[in-house]
């Protein structure tokens, strides 16, 4: 690459790094004396690049956005654009570090304490939905859904998301949230972990039979089997053909 071309890329890189629009644009033009192109035209690109980040975040985190309000959201997006630039060619991946960024800014921006957990939930929702994991069409024994993701937080986020009103604050309380992609519908399912869901997952992970569990817990074998079938219908676990 020639020094002139390298200089061009270096100057554009500095412009896109997030320096405020007016100053950044003047620095860019100062690096190229005699450049006649109207500044308004060049500035379009700064707007486009920032707009892509904002657009992706607003698609991925609609509940978090509503929870923090527009002013705090603008601050979060601007800071994030400057400090955690996109490192992956798939545009949605730029949202991966956003929950951590939100967590870092809770005090400074006066965010409600549940917002980091909500943002983490929203990212997990997308990550599960788009997971590259493929649920096998046939399994030989009870199997946990390979897209299963577990989140632990101090708020009742599942019920909060289900209610669909991001302006309200979720109830406090420890929660283990389970998120997975339904193998048939290919949509994200989620639920707060219950003893029966955790038991069925334990059966899948440890290869326990309904007979073993009934004997160890005192539950009826029929109840254990019914739980397995129920959670298999929701896609949390996968059943071998002979068990369907």
């Amino acid at each position: 690459m020639t020094p002139e071309l390298k200089h061009f890329f270096d100057s554009m890189g500095a412009y896109f790094e997030g320096v405020p629009e007016g100053v950044g644009l003047e620095r860019l033009y100062a690096a190229h004396p005699g450049w006649q192109t109207p500044r308004t035209r060049t500035a379009l690109y700064g707007g486009f690049v920032r707009g892509h980040v904002r657009g992706a975040l607003e698609k991925l985190f609609p509940l978090s956005r509503h929870a923090v309000g527009e002013a705090a959201w603008d601050a979060l997006v601007e800071e994030y654009t400057r400090t955690r630039p996109a490192r992956h060619y798939e545009i949605n991946r730029l949202g991966e570090a956003f929950p951590a960024h939100v967590a870092d800014r809770v005090e400074a921006l006066g965010l409600a304490p549940h917002v980091p957990a909500l943002a983490r939930f929203e990212w997990a929702d997308f990550a599960v939905f788009a997971s590259e994991e493929v649920a096998p069409e046939v399994v030989e024994r009870l199997t946990a859904n390979p897209t299963l993701t577990v989140l632990e937080h101090a708020f009742r986020i599942c019920a909060h998301v289900r209610a669909g009103d991001a302006r309200k604050v979720p109830d406090a309380g420890e929660e283990l949230a389970l998120l997975w992609r339904h193998p048939g519908q290919l949509a994200t399912f989620y639920m707060e972990a219950t003893p029966s869901a955790l038991l069925v997952l334990k059966m899948a992970v440890e290869g326990l039979t309904a007979e073993h569990v009934a004997a160890a817990t005192g539950m009826s074998e029929a109840q254990v089997r019914a739980d397995v079938v129920r959670f298999a219908r929701d896609g949390l676990v996968l059943l071998p053909p002979e068990s369907k």
């Binding site: 690459m1 020639t2 002139e4 071309l5 390298k6 061009f8 890329f9 554009m12 890189g13 896109f16 190229h32 005699g34 450049w35 006649q36 192109t37 109207p38 308004t40 035209r41 060049t42 379009l44 690109y45 486009f48 690049v49 892509h52 980040v53 992706a56 630039p85 996109a86 490192r87 992956h88 060619y89 798939e90 545009i91 949605n92 991946r93 730029l94 939905f129 788009a130 997971s131 590259e132 994991e133 493929v134 992609r181 290919l186």
Partner: protein, 282 residues
């Protein structure tokens, strides 16, 4: 006129296609309307599983699928992304695409993906920078490759070549095909004050393998290539002018923002197919 790029590579005109966009993942594979081929943005299919892959598989069962990328960064200073090129190559083979394409632009600086199609300066230095990268991509993917003329709103500093000469030098020296975006030609002609037909005449038309048609946004001082509206009459006229010179080539209706119903997009594809048939009857 030299043998066309399509002829040399055994590429036939596929007719009129539309893009597989998320809004159409369920409806497009089931449509009973006429459709000749489908374009995908590979970045949406390289790492995303679930519904995206199901939609792709369903389309592949019915139509030819052509990957048209936005993230190759063919003109950028960073080395080509190993993971990206490997996955792209695998995708091209998986859908058995007769060719694939991306834009003559840059989209990554210092490892940061800017997720935009950013214009290069029209210089010999940029030509010399891009050409070996195009050759490397073609060698690694092993299929014919097309570069698209991007829309641009600002001429980058230091330019010494006319835009058409810049395009010509790159595609001829790299020996790749040209994906001619007719809407981009129109938008650029309006924004930079040149004659769109004269620009088309100045291109190496024997390398045109595919054409894009799209809508744009009219602002008071500039046209923006949004892919968010129907194709305007002026672009349809320029399309007719172009294929009268290239012959019938695969044509795509691009619609990426404010996406209407599938039927509305297919209506545009029908119109393009009608123009292609008229050309074949001439």
């Amino acid at each position: 006129m030299p043998a066309s790029y399509a002829h040399r590579h055994g590429l036939r005109a596929l007719g009129a296609g539309i893009g597989l966009r998320r809004d159409f993942y369920e409806a497009l594979p089931r449509t009973e309307r006429a459709l000749d081929w489908v374009e995908i943005i590979p970045e949406n299919f390289l790492t995303l599983g679930g519904r995206t892959q199901r939609a792709l598989d369903a389309c592949r069962e019915r139509w030819s699928v052509l990957p048209h990328g936005v993230g190759l960064n063919i003109g950028g200073p960073d080395a080509l992304d190993e993971d990206y090129v490997s996955r792209l190559s695998a995708l091209v083979r998986r859908v058995d695409a007769p060719f694939f394409s991306d834009h003559l632009c840059y989209s990554r600086l210092g490892g940061v993906h800017l997720h935009d199609l950013l214009p290069l300066p029209f210089t010999e230095a940029a030509v010399e920078h891009v050409v070996p990268r195009v050759r490397e991509v073609m060698a690694r993917v092993g299929r014919p490759f097309l570069l698209e003329n991007p829309s641009y709103y600002a001429k980058m500093p230091g330019g010494t070549l006319a835009e058409a000469d810049f395009l010509r030098h790159v595609v001829e020296q790299a020996d790749c095909g040209l994906l001619l975006d007719v809407n981009n030609v129109y938008v650029n002609a309006m924004n930079h004050g040149y004659d769109a037909r004269a620009f088309v005449d100045a291109l190496p038309l024997e390398r045109v393998v595919q054409i894009h048609l799209a809508g744009h946004e009219v602002r008071p001082d500039v046209l923006i290539d949004t892919h968010g509206a129907s194709v305007c009459d002026e672009v349809w006229a320029l399309y007719r002018y172009t294929i009268a010179r290239t012959g019938a080539v695969s044509t795509l209706i691009e619609w990426d923002q404010d996406i209407p119903s599938l039927d509305a997009v297919l209506d545009e594809a029908d119109r393009a197919r009608g123009v292609l048939r008229e050309e074949l009857r001439r």
